[in-house]
């Protein structure tokens, strides 16, 4: 019995760099240290707060991971969060549509922004950084315009409760993240589309010559990132109980950081769902742990920055040794 357990563990550790396991080891150690030395860290209240805070960023990071594995980048996700959230809020409050319909419409519109990104990148041959920098700015402006730069409040309780309730003892926001996580992992590893994402990121020319339809895949990749950002936008509005015009600002950088800490390469071809999830968790755990320890928030910010660079340095070092 013990023998098998040991073998399994060894095998897992050996395979772990591929599934973002380096970071898993780091995270487990970090988590244990906080549990032992920080009072009030290992309480159900604190932990449920931690996952609730990470969930929204976590969903965005999952979408970003698809784009980064395909050797792209999407700076517009923060603006998509803001825009989808405001559209949903405005439809509920000012147009009086039902929460269900408002959410569906907002998610569809948000996803279309992603497909627009895909068109700019593939058909327009605009570098992804520039294309999405453009849509990021355009849709932040659009968010301000739609909301009149005012907070939108007064949404039905049915909608506001979404973010507050627990299901089976788990915060609902975390459940959403979990579902998106499982679906993403399934798509990326088990479906043709998922493997195309890796192939395109690894060698786009080889993928094209193998008959992979690059255009449709690029649309789908950016569309998926925007779909997940729109879901995150809805989650954010429900959690804050207000549609905030600046909502989601800066989320793109957190999402990129989570993917990269989790082992994704900006050159494409590498990255995993587990890695990204742990990357997002590591950042928010560091923030929260630091908070509980009473570390100056500005110093904490500096630590998070150092973490991002350190994660990539370690990864580069590992690759050089290979």
């Amino acid at each position: 019995m013990e023998e098998i357990g040991k073998k399994g563990l060894k095998k897992f550790i050996k395979a772990s760099p591929r599934v973002g396991g380096n970071i898993l080891v780091i995270y487990v150690i970090f988590f244990l240290l906080l549990s032992i030395f920080v009072k009030g860290f290992l309480t159900s209240g604190n932990l449920s707060n931690l996952v609730r805070q990470t969930s929204i960023n976590g969903v965005v990071a999952l979408g970003m991971t698809f784009v980064i594995i395909a050797a792209g980048i999407d700076l517009s996700v923060g603006s998509v969060i803001g825009f989808a959230g405001i559209v949903a809020a405005v439809l509920m409050v000012r147009s009086g549509l039902s929460p269900f319909l408002s959410v569906i419409i907002a998610i569809i519109i948000g996803t279309l922004i992603g497909i627009l990104n895909g068109m700019l990148v593939f058909d327009g041959k605009v570098p992804p950084f520039i294309a999405t920098l453009g849509t990021m700015t355009v849709f932040r402006g659009a968010t301000m315009l739609v909301s009149g730069a005012q907070m939108v409040s007064g949404m039905p309780d049915a909608f506001l409760n979404l973010a507050q309730i627990d299901i089976l003892g788990l915060p609902s926001l975390f459940i959403v993240w979990l579902i998106v996580m499982i679906i993403s992992a399934f798509i990326l590893n088990m479906t043709r589309f998922g493997r195309n994402v890796y192939a395109i990121g690894s060698n786009q020319e080889a993928a094209r010559l193998s008959g992979i339809n690059i255009r449709l895949n690029i649309y789908a990749i950016y569309g998926l990132a925007a779909l997940m950002s729109s879901i995150a936008g809805i989650m954010l509005v429900s959690r804050l109980a207000n549609g905030i015009p600046t909502g989601g600002s800066g989320y793109e950088l957190d999402a990129i950081a989570a993917s990269v800490i989790g082992g994704a390469s900006l050159n494409g071809g590498e990255g995993s769902i587990l890695g990204t999830v742990l990357g997002a968790m590591l950042m928010s755990t560091l923030r929260q742990g630091g908070d509980l320890l009473g570390i100056n928030p500005f110093i904490l910010q500096m630590l998070v920055g150092a973490l991002i660079v350190a994660a990539v340095l370690i990864d580069q070092n590992r690759k050089r040794k290979q």
Binding site: A199, N203, S210, G211, I212
Partner: protein
Amino acid sequence: MDKMSEEIIRMEGISKEFPGVKALSDVSFILKRGEVHGLVGENGAGKSTLIKILMGIYPKDKGEIFIEGEKVEITNPIQSREYGLRAVYQDITLAPHLSVEENFFLGRLPTKRLIIDWATVNRVTSDTLKELDLDIDPRKKLKELTLAQREMVTIAKIIHEKARVIIFDEPTALLGEEEVKQLFEIIYKLKSEGTSVIYISHRLEEIFSICDTVTVLRDGKLIGTFPLADVDEGRLVSVMVGRDLKDIYSIKHQKSQEIVLEVKNLTKEPKFRGINLQLHKGEILGMFGLVGSGRTDVVRCLFGADKYDTGEIIINGEKKEIRSPIDGINAGIGLLPEDRKMQGLALPLSIMANINMVVYDQISTLGVMNRKEERKRTEKYLSELKIKTPSMLQKVEKLSGGNQQKVVISKWLNAQSNIFIFDEATFGVDVGAKLEIYRIFEKLISSGASIIWVSSYLPELMGLADRILVMHEGRCAAIVNNGEATEEDILKLASGLSIATKTGN
């Protein structure tokens, strides 16, 4: 009927022109079923162009292509795949981050109800690899394999896809002896199954051991197609190179006895080892070798672009540690790299910026550029080297190949270099520009500079170099004086064959 006589591919009267170069003129080529057909010629003879036209990568200017007697128009690579044509290129087109088995099924992974059927993927891949006696783990990522293994994976994949015609373009450049044997086994098997093979190689001994027929191209023209039973190696070599260009290569030699650069036992594993050479003042030292012989690696180490493992570099009698390009520049060495677009020039910048890049610290005070001096120097080289441009602010990417080459030369003249290393200086430039580059060589050596010149084009080396260092698989096979060896001898040396020495053993 005799299966061998059946025509699979017939290319007729193929012509192709690139700006300034006639790459192919009126070339015809016939491939029969189950035949292994060698395609030989010097670099620039048009072999790759012919294959790329067949594969739909380049459009042809003139000519017709028939597949099994039917006229076809192949306009893109995906179309040629549909006709059952497959090529193993030197630059391998697989996805490095994916596993061997996934690469095997790239773009056509089998699925069962949306979910990828990894079991089938694994089974088919391992079966195919086993069948070909390849000991490669199908679960490994491609980038974890050696280059030779990656190539064998490409070959296995193509064979699994059941092609009608398989083209090997210099397949053995990356392979070791054992793998070459495996490759030959594979080719014999393909042949017995009726697949046709086009085999491009510089290594004539391979052509003789594997091919039934050989077609020789020279300067874009068809010289002839011969059954291999009818030719011997000597005849084939002379047909490949046979031409007299002595008049173009008249140059006033300036070689003196003074040694400016001496290299002792230079080694960089696994690229090259034990290289010794002496370069004299005013000398043009040619370096010749086949793809993968390590000649480019040697000159990159001399300049400091790569680091060598062991050995000594002595410049003007003084031992130098050359570990970075800055060391090389300070020692008076200028490198004009093989791929000047990638390594020698900043294409989106102006001629002026490119020429002065290496001397910015000399022509600035406290970091502020002296624009007047910059302009003066640029003007000097524009007129000295006859660079054709509307303005010195012209972006280098807009210039022709020959003029780009002159800008790189200006850059190093400007840096006061006195040892110039040219790596394939004349590759891809037209004949007129070639002649001008030869004149620049003459000017350089008459002003006391020395030149190391790496070239794959033997006639120009034979015509212009004082001595030629011949490399074979990372070693110096010989250094021959101008006029003391024939082209045939040098090609043999570079292929690892021995030549009959004067003592006659």
